[in-house]
Subunit: 293 residues, 6 copies
């Protein structure tokens, strides 16, 4: 009997699946440390560590219709790669399925966000929630428009203004000014410390007021103590439990999800294990909400 090399408990075929996970092994615009290309495979390897059962939600992963499509075919050129991943993600949402992208770097998020938006039949309700240490509000960076430091800017300009980011603690002065001028809703990590994550969740929920949220988790939102294997680690970050709380709260309202920016070569699985766990918490929370309703 052979076990596939995909997520071991993502046991459903594409046709039967409700969730379609795919890796996006691309990190070619990363400016500091690269290596997020290895994250999807590392997460598959780490998943074997986990039980399929969630006591909190009384759900078993093998009962949830999850499919792992493998890794998206990517180029070294980010623009080409974005086109291809857009096509991949668009197909998934057009087939009525929920896309979960495992990066790779944050620039990739533009593709599934666009795909989810284009397929969304309530475009006014479409919103994006980002957890990140960085604004990613540059128009371009180091020679590329679609650099991983620009993804939120392009989402805001091209797709939707219904946008909140949480965990922000790094950016050039221009980004802080731009965010202020444009009235972009964000919570810095100091806000998380002071307001508490529960209050931020409540405010964000009201602000976005959406049932069509795309949720993007840049793992550098987390503190390096929990997640040292990152491309651009930024101290003074969120705790694992704060991030989990956000995922649990918003999962029921999402139409797309990604986890990006883990660089697994910079630790021994610690970050990939946490990311894999968080992905599972997200899926469990979303499924549980469906049972309730």
């Amino acid at each position: 009997m052979f076990v596939p090399t995909t997520f071991f408990d993502a046991i459903y075929d594409y046709e039967d699946a409700e969730y379609v996970i795919f890796g996006a092994p691309f990190d070619n615009t990363s400016s500091f440390r690269t290596g997020s290309r290895w994250a999807p495979d590392k997460m598959r390897e780490m998943a074997i560590n986990f039980e399929t059962y969630s006591p909190k939600y009384d759900l078993d992963m093998t009962d949830i219709l999850v499919h792992d499509a493998g890794n998206a075919f990517v180029s070294v050129n980010i623009d080409e790669t974005l086109e291809w991943i857009y096509e991949d993600a668009k197909q998934i949402v057009d087939d009525g399925k929920f896309p979960i992208m495992l990066g790779g770097e944050h620039s990739l998020t533009y593709a599934p966000v666009k795909a989810c938006y284009d397929a969304c039949d309530e475009k006014d309700d479409f919103a994006v929630l980002v957890l990140d240490a960085h604004f990613d509000l540059r128009t371009d960076f180091r020679g590329l428009k679609n650099n991983h430091a620009c993804v939120s800017r392009h989402i805001l300009e091209d797709i939707t203004k219904k946008y909140v980011s949480i965990g922000i603690r790094s950016g050039p002065r221009e980004e802080w000014e731009y965010a202020a001028e444009e009235g972009i809703k964000f919570y810095s990590n100091e806000d998380v410390f002071e307001m508490g994550i529960k209050e931020i969740i409540k405010e964000t929920m009201e602000y976005l007021n959406s049932d069509h949220i795309y949720l993007s988790l840049d793992m550098d939102a987390l503190d390096p103590a929990f997640c040292p294997g990152l491309g651009t680690p930024e101290p003074f970050g969120m705790t694992d439990r704060e991030v989990r709380e956000v995922l649990r709260a918003f999962a029921p309202k999402t139409i797309g999800f990604d986890i990006v920016e883990i660089a697994p070569e910079y630790d021994n699985g610690q970050s990939a294990i946490l990311a894999t766990k968080l992905m599972r918490e997200f899926i469990f929370a979303r499924e549980a909400s469906k049972k309730l309703s």
Copy 2:
């Protein structure tokens, strides 16, 4: 002048010792990441980092009658290994000494628990306290009865029902159901977050109501931020200080102790350093209570 390669401040001969530390370099049933076989030697290496003096207890390790016996001779076969370690531990307790086993994997715990129980002259008072992320309540796992995922089940069925585990956050549905049906006393890690460790200690103290406790510390009870070098790391774990509090509270009531499941090849000493420190805290706390009484 030569320094032994054992714990540098475990300076007493077996005959004079009250505490006998031994390594148990066995990890052959580990299902995810192996390597706990290297933990005892790594802990010896890391011990050199520490001062022999405890300011909290005003005690010096070199004044405490500790002997390091080296590593138990082990087989690759878990059943054979358990028999041999049982003999080793039995000898130690029969000689009136306190055994401290440094795993190695959690399956090994059965041997010193059994040895302590068999040598205990108040068998009704005998109890087991486990810190662990996992239930370890399977009857068997992946082809082996004495798999590391089964140790608590065998203790409960064969030795004692006076049992509490703290830190639990992972297990198949069957284990959660079994625990519920059997009324097994346990505190999940969510319980630790919500109740606080002090309350849990208080309840556990009352529940066990014992002066003959065997305390087993599966280091994956701890959060990977504190202890990344593990065989089966499980996010959202206990803090170092919560675990220390449990050790300090229960050490005075123990008749045996172990620390298991560190896989030192997955970090650069961080986990072994913490485990070694916790072992010292345990010994200091137990000694201090004797001085008081």
Copy 3:
């Protein structure tokens, strides 16, 4: 477009395939360093490094009918695991395909060897060629019959005496005596130094005189300079080119093949890259010989 997480250029379905690769992620009897369980996945990761084309043989891997079945389902119990892998391998050979097992540890070799033998219609012609630093001639080791240090003994006693091993340089006195008494044909690594690999190949070819050879490559046959990521590394080993020469010479006469004992956590891909390359050289050489005949 999605890329499977199997070998990227093993692009054929099982039905169409002539070669079926499968991983065997089992290392639970390993006595020194474990971790060969991670080797198949590491080899898949490293394969992306290679061009699909072989200039020597003017063949492209994507034109060869290769299928990657994923990893065999394994237990922690070696006996159970051997049964399961026997069934897996037997199916493959019964389906008229060529099995390539990527260990995992050397004990596993017994299963595909037995499967190939049982399916072989010229049993007298069946032979086994092993490259190894170790004799693996023990009857049992550290509590287990099917320890990785015993595989050649069981093959010799249970399956065939048409057996040669090359690269031998380690074993207890009993093994050297047993080999001498039983007249087991082997070449030590000193023989390789002195006779040259070409002469050894010639002698072995004549001695085995077989077109039904199972070839097992224990990577510790190689010198740690070429292959440091091993469970039981043994200095003074064979060079990469000597091993390649053996594979190229014997591939045309093989009916089964495996590569075992890489422990990828002990280097940064060096050993898995070499092993993956050697597997490709083997396949190319075997295919090329078919074209000729």
Copy 4:
């Protein structure tokens, strides 16, 4: 256009600079794990990760007059090295600049402290604040007077009694007794847990009552979860935010600063990233206070 290999945003010449950073790649008295010699270069490498802008202080690093002088020339002999670094630091303070030393080990601190003291025109006001897990109060250690375990003792005896240390949790009995007898002001890490860092800062501010403070940050004050790459890691340490709070509070009153004891080979940048961030927080906080006044 070429970028210097010094801190990328320390863009001012020595002549124009107000802050002069220099590395001190010396670790030859380290008794447990060495490697702090590599810390200054690792910090330079990690600095590229950070934005030059501080939103908290609305300051940009490139507007602050910072110069990176490279690494001090060091001997293997600590006494000689201390003399040389004293000369280097003395020159800097004599030139009216603020010295920031990046160790290297803690013994080095004696040199810039002495240099700052010798150049200080209000010697009575001169004070030293140390963050450390260790007392460093030995008169000598393992054959050397200027061992890294002795630096605070020599400062206290030779230079000033206006001294406070925070984070202390390790030392032989003699050090605890000496500290008590001498009335040395210190806060253990347990004090930090119980009193809170704000109260400790307030008390320390009053106790030192100085505008000429030399601040020395031994990174092992921090918990290994935040800072695993250390020479002598000591569990149960301070959090990143507690340390930051101390730096922010005292930076405006400092005349010299160092960060020591990172051993970057024991993690993958996590500790160097945090140290670099803390250095920047220190500089920003000090600059911001100047703007206010």
Copy 5:
């Protein structure tokens, strides 16, 4: 006294220098493993290991007019980066100095080759000698023209046909065919094994017949046993001594030099140490030939 963080014995100012070393920390087109961006700094760190004196040539590095300019400012966009590095290299050669570029990836080589060619007053004599495991003859790769797998193609098409590569052992069928059709002179690694490096050097010397050679050393020409820290390691490579022999032979005839494709995060300095040594051998050999003439 401060030591610069550049090569410790490259002690001359730009103005006085004859050799100008610069790093080129760019790896953004790398398709397998990235990280060559860290190579220049790692080589600077490793250089400290070496004596400044060469017994073979009786020369001391500190007597040779070498300047280390730091690292070239790079973009994430390869085209932009090539332009910038072209400008940097052009300036160096226009100033009559000898450029030594430390990559970074192989695509960068195009820039200094072009700069050397443009500044060469005997363009017909201009030639390029490449040591590489790979042809790098693609017109474009994975979405980029200036991918590191294409550099030799662009040199051949845009700059010169006086070109030889040594060590080739990997490429798609198209590259082997293209090389054959175009009559591109190359020596495979099998040629090195069979002909011996001395004969290849002799033939290449005659074939190129040039005193204006640009020499590019892609370190993957070497066997991974000598150089495991590579982006695209290819087994069965050249030995350290074979490569040294080529460098020694051709250095006297060169007008530019680079070392590329080391990925230092994949070993612990082994590859960077060798590369640094080879750079020194190159400089010594070139200087020695000047003394003779």
Copy 6:
């Protein structure tokens, strides 16, 4: 049954032993990379990998009277440390036993050499044979007389001129000149390449013409391909087999032996495994010669 943490097959008590192994965990004068302090313990860990039997010599390690005394107590001060190790080694030789020191750095060699010399009753016959990449002929280095770069100088000046070193390829001009002027007998690594190790052994045997040789193996004599875990790795080194040949040839004539300069943190056991193997080859070869005579 407990296994000591010393070399597993060094099973004899000090009293009964003929060979006494001791570690010397000191590296405090190392100028480039430190860490040889960890080598003795790493070698003990790696020894478990090996069979006790030598087929070449038909000897079993457990039949040879070997004792492992643990690690010498060391200071951070090299002078003090040398005194202490001298005392330790002197005791061993005075007790009629053969000392084997496992460094630690090369400076330590002075102590056992001096001890062997002082105890030698045929002082004129006393000789020293060193395998090393470096001359170690400085009078002092970086502030210390007894730096690891000076050991051979002090041996030559203080103890004996009957001295040969093999493998030399690095040193400042002064050392090469000093060696030439003083007529110090040495073979560079280029000599090894050109003359062959057998001829060098023959010449050295004649030159030393001694039965009282102290043999010191600085592992950096070896090429980093075989031994990457070194303090000062120097490319273009000796092969494992060349070094083994020297050990086998001279072991019968030795009265003391050491292996130094391994820095095990810079690889994953590769260097310690080779060193451990070489130590065993040495002991086997020496024992075998005794049987013959």
